[in-house]
Symmetry: C2
Subunit: 425 residues, 2 copies
Amino acid sequence: MTAGVPHLTTALTGPLLKLEAHLLERQAEVECWFREQWLQTPAPFYASVDLRNAGFKLAPVDTNLFPAGFNNLNPAFMPLCIQAAQAAVERHCPRARRILIIAENHTRNLFYLESLETLRMIFEKAGLEARLGSLRDDITENLSVELPSGRVTQLSPLRRKGVRVSLDDDFSPCLVLLNNDLSAGIPAILQGIEQQLVPPLKAGWSTRKKSDHFNHYHAVAKDFASRVDIDPWLVSPLSLQCGQVNFMEKSGGECLARNVTSLLGMIQRKYDEYGIDREPFAVVKADSGTYGMGIMMVKSADEVLNLNRKQRNKMASAKEGLVVDNVLIQEGVYTFETIGPDQAVAEPVIYMMDHYVVGGFYRVHTGRGVNENLNAPGMHFEPLAFAQSCISPEKCENPDAEPNRFYAYGVIARLALLAAARELA
Amino acid sequence: MTAGVPHLTTALTGPLLKLEAHLLERQAEVECWFREQWLQTPAPFYASVDLRNAGFKLAPVDTNLFPAGFNNLNPAFMPLCIQAAQAAVERHCPRARRILIIAENHTRNLFYLESLETLRMIFEKAGLEARLGSLRDDITENLSVELPSGRVTQLSPLRRKGVRVSLDDDFSPCLVLLNNDLSAGIPAILQGIEQQLVPPLKAGWSTRKKSDHFNHYHAVAKDFASRVDIDPWLVSPLSLQCGQVNFMEKSGGECLARNVTSLLGMIQRKYDEYGIDREPFAVVKADSGTYGMGIMMVKSADEVLNLNRKQRNKMASAKEGLVVDNVLIQEGVYTFETIGPDQAVAEPVIYMMDHYVVGGFYRVHTGRGVNENLNAPGMHFEPLAFAQSCISPEKCENPDAEPNRFYAYGVIARLALLAAARELA
């Protein structure tokens, strides 16, 4: 599936709340509010946000401060990325002429390397010398990798000398960009460097907690909702949390079961209020970690009480061996965006540089249902680049017309970005 | 002629100097230099720059701080304009939620109104309420005008109350954007207002002098050239000036003749140095004013000594009756960009918002030669929108490939923008 105009069929049950129409109508208010917010809390250097669109509700489910997937964006909107990258560099390190990008360790994933090379090219075109560095022990000299796109990318071993990191001894720029989420902990080589490291080390998953992010998100959504006069529930998933859960030792299960029951009840009351005839579901998430590890969908408390060994293993093992303790129980948001004759489920992912929305794509998955996690390990999705930008709403068109839906995505994604900004502040 | 891929045939004589290749090779240096410059001297709110590309040389001939022609830009790059407009608003008045755009007085020119409406839409999409105000005495109530594009635009009379200007009494935003070049002088209604007025009143042609601009430009070009190691002549027209010229009274003619002869000699020496087999020509320009009024092309001093009455009238009457006194004698830069089977002359015009290059188009004129002024009163041109952005150079392509040529345009246009910034500082 390549870039093109996606014809999305939104299979809605229940009343369609015109959230998009409302955001469009209040656009000046929305943008003015965001400008004020960024003055108070500057945006992270970059981010991607996974959204779920249930038609009656549009909410973020994951905010990635080390985004991959740049290769899935529409090439037509690369200039927008380049311009925003220039703005981001100007704000963080205006005198930079070079940038060192630190890669994830799963460097055998060619799709990830395509994303990295696209990211590198964005900075090159923005007018910086840009190179890729790796933290892997087994990369001891410059490694060239031929990519499926036909491009060749180069990874170099990151070296430490005094209070600076460099590649090849002489490439030691003032600006170091992390594209590694630090799930395995903060590596010694990055500690105490004098260079400008963005995002900061505390943005990594060794420090960051999903519950913190969503606590900030709820506050952001509440502020925003009161400013533009909507119910905050329309843009945020309800959530509860449990501390001290150990899936392997089966401790903390009562808290989980109690909170799942409680959350499902809260969702049901909201569904009743809006006349939504769907079965509520909850998502149980490990507080740290990514890649869809440690995530489970449940429709009753029984499901968390009666986990089999395989399920417990899955919940206990987040990426690179992070131990699960705190657990987030979040309202599941249905995805009612589907595409094509097979009604494949489509989940939007929005990309931002500084506070600018630079594009997005749909994760399109044919084998999964509307209430399943689209970002699970081993899962296969086809990216479908957004055909238009997210910053060009058309007031004279239908509120659900493509540019307007994309605009709404960009608004909600920026709410998540603002939550991340407050989280890091 | 509509937006599409222009196939330009550059009919070069003499050695083609690879200015584009050089800028491309030094891109990181170029962009780093610009970032430093904008820190020292912030860019004007917006601008357009007319360039001439002689193949061996690429130089600005006019810098407009009240740009029109936004309707000629490629609609595909509107998101780039919108994003840059957001950046410009954030820098000048981050708390703005509305913007009042003050129009030129020639409001019967429907092409101009198309540009204004496009500009208004850019700000609307950027998330501001945007309206158009007029200074004309004969506009006493809101005036709706149907445009050739089918859009309807609305002009409202500008009102003054105390230290603020407004439309309809209640539209009185903190940000007032001038799109009127003030050739007729600074109107009383705009003097001493407390609102943020951009560009400032002194950017208008009642104050601004072309000779100031080009003096700053020469200094900018010199700095830039030494930083990226080129001959500054490759990016700047040689120029001289005469004060106290009165074409009607035939005074100051000796100075003009002497300087024309001197300048033609200087150009010839440069042509000899680079082996360019072309006849030098000079452009005589009134120091203030625009729209191609008060401009004359000459190949010898005799031409300025023997002006007929009609020519003298033309030189003496700049827009809205400005009297010509100081006169600029500038190196004429050949346009060696032609398009189509008729070899129509094409002159690039580059648009910027804040310091971001947001697009451009070619003025394509079939009835004129390579050394004639393409922006003359009553002239007819067809706009040809750039097919690609100016910020996405492709190092793996030919240095003269479209994205690279557009990148070079953007670099030279920003030199002119920087000169304007220093002029206003």
